[in-house]
């Protein structure tokens, strides 16, 4: 974890909705792993003091864009509004890389990446790394409408099989990612699922994977004040496995894990999705709920050993 000043190399847009900043930050970019995030100070205006967390969308370790990292965002408030005004040569204050990223399979595997809206951002970096290591990558990308799909052209390039869903059928199939999840799992013979997006979507994906005994890693997005483990605000309720054996009362068997340091990537089956945060996440992301399941079984042990998350 470092704090450093980065210089904006470029500001561009993906579609009409999403902004992208490519930032020269050699120390942070070189260390970042898929699923990790950076926490960015949004100006010196003290009316909004907290940093904003952004998962790393891409890092460029070689070539003409070496030592840069890229984030994507939509404008939600004063912080992202500030960032959307930045242009080349602007200086930003970044903290990162933060959190535990995705674990990659040790043996060659069929990996299915399921992303919703802007939440799909870390899956692009993950797809790059998985492909570099020789894994098969398939992708389901969903959003409310075409303009909320994050870079579908790039998805087409990265994936062996790709599926697009939009709720208004403006692109791909009408519906949600979960409507096509099962058939895509079958078709691609997926062995592990990686997912990022709004909580109700992650809940549904986790439940479907649990039914099939498929390992699923999810990256959550939580409101956070610090991003490095001290404020205890970004917690996610996990089943406390030690507690669960000792106590019958399910209410007691909760462990609130910090998504900034113990996450943001969790095993989907460990998360208790029916806490009130699901509904909240929908409010935050302006997405309609995708049917939050009340309970689902525990995730079976993962078939592969995974590489330790980088830091």
């Amino acid at each position: 974890m470092l704090i450093s000043k980065g210089e904006v190399l470029s500001h561009k847009k993906y579609g009409e909705h999403y902004h992208s900043l490519t930032i020269v930050a050699p120390d942070i970019g070189a260390k970042a792993r898929p699923g990790q995030f950076v926490n960015i100070k949004c100006g010196e205006d003290r009316s909004h003091i907290l940093r904003r967390p952004f998962s790393v969308y891409r890092v460029h370790k070689r070539g003409g864009w070496a030592s840069t990292l890229e984030i994507v965002f939509d404008i939600r408030g004063p912080g992202t509004s500030f960032l959307s005004q930045l242009r080349g040569h602007s200086i930003v204050d970044l903290m990162g890389p933060l959190g535990r990223g995705f674990s990659l399979p040790r043996r060659r595997a069929h990996c299915l990446l399921v992303g919703g809206g802007i939440g799909a951002a870390p899956l692009f970096f993950l797809a790059d790394e998985l492909r570099n290591e020789g894994h098969r990558v398939d992708v389901i990308l969903g959003a409310r409408s075409m303009r909320h799909l994050l870079n579908p052209i790039e998805v087409r390039r990265l994936a062996s099989v790709y599926r697009i869903t939009t709720e208004d059928a403006s692109m791909g199939d009408r519906g949600r990612v979960t409507d096509v999840l099962e058939e895509t799992i079958e078709r691609c013979r997926a062995e592990i699922i990686y997912s990022c997006g709004p909580h109700p979507m992650l809940a549904a994906v986790s439940a479907m994977c649990a039914e099939r005994g498929l390992p699923v890693q999810v990256a959550v997005e939580e409101l956070m004040a610090c991003g490095y483990g001290v404020c205890m605000t970004c917690v996610v309720p996990l089943r406390d496995r030690a507690d669960r054996n000792a106590k019958k009362d399910a209410e007691e068997a909760i462990h609130y894990a910090r998504s900034c340091t113990e996450g943001p990537v969790f095993n989907g089956g460990d998360v208790i999705w029916d806490d009130n945060m699901g509904e909240f996440a929908v409010d935050q992301l302006e997405l309609s709920p995708a049917g939050v399941p009340t309970r689902h079984g525990p995730l079976p042990e993962q078939p592969h050993e995974h590489a330790p998350p980088g830091n």
Partner: protein, 309 residues
């Protein structure tokens, strides 16, 4: 330029007046990758309770103009974990350690204090958190009444005779001077002023509170004037009582302001979330101020606000 920044708060001796506030720094492990804990005046660790507390559901935080609201519910691993894991590690880092203790009943506070008496060797002081706005029963916050403030302080002081204790008071009271008086009479060695202020925010689209706990504690630069006022009032009444000023302190300038109001030391809170190095920057800022104004000793700043003339 070497300026002597050491301060004495009664029996509590600090190398410099800049501490980090409870609940904004954990036990220092995470921040220690960014800041040398031995350079701080001290670390007021996250409040510890008799048994581990899981804390409240989410959302626990929302940003507000120049500040934030939180309702965390003192999620912590308990006093035994602190004694076994955190304290030895903090001593290794050569940090000055102030243990913050909390509880739901007077008995719980006293039991935590008892455990620290036997297992807490090396603690420089204890802060008594009787002002957390996120306990189960808000209407019974200890620092809302002189009687319950006195009861907790008396019990803790009885258990920790040789350790300076600083009750942390709430600004959500009619007269903080009265509460401070009760705490001092019960044996407090000094005071921590202030904890967060009760606040609430509503998402107007969904008409739901922005915090799962509905009401939370407001912190950040937005509450600094409230802290300055509280410190000033208490210092005017008891000029010799050492005060740890906190509430919206994020820089050397902020620290000097609290000291002029009457604080002998300050604690950086919410600013740690933005940068774990905020305390280092504040220490440098204080030195710069002393040099610029030709102040020979830091203690001359304490309560030096000019009210007349």
């Amino acid at each position: 330029m070497a300026v002597d920044l050491s301060m004495k708060l009664g029996a509590l001796e600090l190398a410099n007046p800049v501490l980090v506030a409870s609940g904004t720094f954990g036990s220092g492990r995470e921040a220690s990758r960014m800041i040398d804990l031995s350079t701080l005046g001290g670390v007021i660790v996250k409040s510890m309770t008799l048994t581990p507390w899981k804390g409240k559901p989410t959302p626990r935080m929302c940003e507000t103009p120049s500040g934030m609201l939180n309702a965390i519910g003192i999620q912590n691993k308990g006093v035994d974990h602190f004694i076994k894991e955190d304290l030895p590690w903090l001593k290794q880092q050569k940090a000055t350690v102030i243990a913050s203790i909390a509880g739901n009943t007077v008995e719980e506070f006293v039991k935590v204090a008892d455990k620290l008496r036997t297992g807490g060797r090396g603690i420089a002081a204890v802060e008594i958190n009787i002002s957390c706005p996120n306990l189960e029963d808000r209407s019974n916050m200890f620092s809302h009444s002189t009687a319950s403030t006195a009861a907790v302080v008396e019990g803790v002081k009885e258990a920790l005779k040789n350790v300076p204790v600083f009750p942390k008071l709430s600004p959500n009271v009619t007269s903080i001077v009265d509460i401070a008086g009760a705490a001092l009479e019960a044996g407090a060695d000094g005071l921590s002023l202030i904890n967060t202020i009760f606040g609430m925010a509503i998402d107007i689209e969904t008409r739901r509170p922005k915090l799962a706990g509905t009401v939370g504690g407001l912190s950040g630069p937005t509450i600094r004037p409230v802290a300055v006022r509280a410190v000033h009032e208490v210092h005017r009444t008891w000029p010799h009582v050492p005060i740890i000023g906190q509430g919206g302190v994020g820089s050397g300038r902020d620290a000097v302001e609290l000291m002029l109001a009457g604080a002998s030391a300050v604690a950086i809170g919410t600013a740690n979330f933005v940068t774990p190095r905020a305390a280092d920057e504040a220490i440098a800022g204080i030195s710069e101020y002393l040099a610029r104004h030709g102040v020979p000793a830091l203690s001359e700043l304490v309560g030096a606000v000019k009210l007349e003339g």
